[in-house]
């Protein structure tokens, strides 16, 4: 990330490695909101968000040697967060998915409820969770996070062409909600 109003990610990483603890805090503040949105849209329970973000950053800082610096730090964080969430789903055996479907989807029969006010988002969220994981992640990285195909490919360990195909499959299915 280019630092229009501050140091770049590589500069902050270098500063943290040199012992500047504040640099770590700056990186957390810079990327945590995007991570939170990404994890939530991927099905993380709201109660787990803080822990997942915290674990993502801790793992990232401990494994900075694995970040080559040629891809974006944010993409690398998305990759770690996605893997952590996948592990959590695996250990919970789908419990988190069910939890979101049970509590967060709008109740169309109750127009007075707060959830009905954002029915479109709720319907999209529910449909997203039915997609294959790669389709969902590519869609979110491109639409919600604004990554280009090359960066999505680097984040997910795929190719730009494959990322493009996943995106179009996801859009084709999700678009039915908006006709």
């Amino acid at each position: 990330m280019l630092g229009a109003d501050g140091p770049t990610d590589p500069e902050l990483v270098a500063a943290w490695r040199a012992g500047d603890e504040l640099a770590a805090g700056q990186l957390v503040r810079r990327h945590a909101p995007a991570l939170g949105r990404y994890l939530a849209a991927n099905g993380a329970a709201s109660a787990d968000l803080d822990d997942l973000i915290q674990d993502t950053f801790f793992k990232a800082f401990r494994g900075l040697d694995g970040w080559r610096g040629d891809g974006s730090l944010r993409g690398w964080l998305f990759r770690i967060a996605g893997n952590l969430l996948k592990d959590r789903f695996r250990s919970a055996k789908g419990r988190i998915f069910l939890e979101i479907e049970d509590h967060d989807i709008a109740d169309a029969s109750d127009p007075g409820s707060e959830l009905a006010a954002d029915e479109t988002s709720e319907l999209l969220q529910a449909e997203l969770l039915k997609l294959p994981r790669l389709q969902r992640e590519v869609f979110l990285l491109r639409v919600q996070q604004g990554l280009e195909y090359a960066e999505i490919a680097a984040t997910l360990g795929s190719t730009p062409g494959a990322a493009r195909v996943h995106y179009h499959h996801a859009v084709k299915r999700l678009k039915e909600l908006f006709r």
Partner: protein
């Protein structure tokens, strides 16, 4: 690239406010049902969980605290993929060997070893005695023990453990 493809390609950037539709593109979106549906989808996706609440201060404090206090983990030991299988095979082989061997040697004696091994084990404390101490022991067995076995004491160091054991037993039976 058709008009539809070009417009769809740019949708994420426009939805995020990084770009804008030209008048012609805006007109296309009004008349093309496919692009209009996709545009609504991309807009909804771009704002998905835009208000997700996270405790930034808590996360920042905890991450920096963990980095301060939790030691860097050592590099994990690379386990060979067949390691578990090998251990299982070795354990099974050891079990089979024990089953075959145990009935033939119910006393626990190892095959091919003399009985003296077991006899020495009965008086293990003798093994730690030096010659002088052994002589004292012999003398304590009887007032004439040393005299009755002339030539024995000067050559105690030449005796094997079993011979010493037999000597002590013979003196003890007198």
């Amino acid at each position: 690239m058709t008009d539809c493809e070009a417009i769809q390609e740019r949708m994420p950037r426009v939805a995020r406010g990084l770009d804008a539709w030209s008048p012609a593109e805006a007109q296309h979106l009004v008349g093309c049902a496919e692009c209009a549906a996709e545009w609504r989808l991309v807009q909804a996706g771009a704002s998905l969980h835009a208000t997700t609440a996270i405790d930034m201060n808590l996360i920042t404090d905890r991450v920096t605290a963990r980095l301060r206090t939790e030691p860097v983990a050592a590099a994990p030991i690379r386990r060979l993929p067949w390691r578990g299988g090998l251990i299982g095979v070795l354990a099974a082989a050891a079990s089979v060997a024990l089953v075959i061997w145990a009935p033939r040697h119910p006393s626990g004696a190892l095959p091919g070893r003399a009985d003296t091994t077991l006899e020495i084990a009965v008086l293990p404390e003798l093994q730690s005695l030096n010659d002088g101490e052994l002589e004292t022991v012999l003398r304590s067995l009887g007032p004439t023990a040393a005299d009755a076995t002339p030539g024995v004491l000067p050559h105690l160091e030449d005796l094997t453990d079993s011979e010493l054991e037999q000597l002590l037993r013979s003196r003890g039976n007198e």
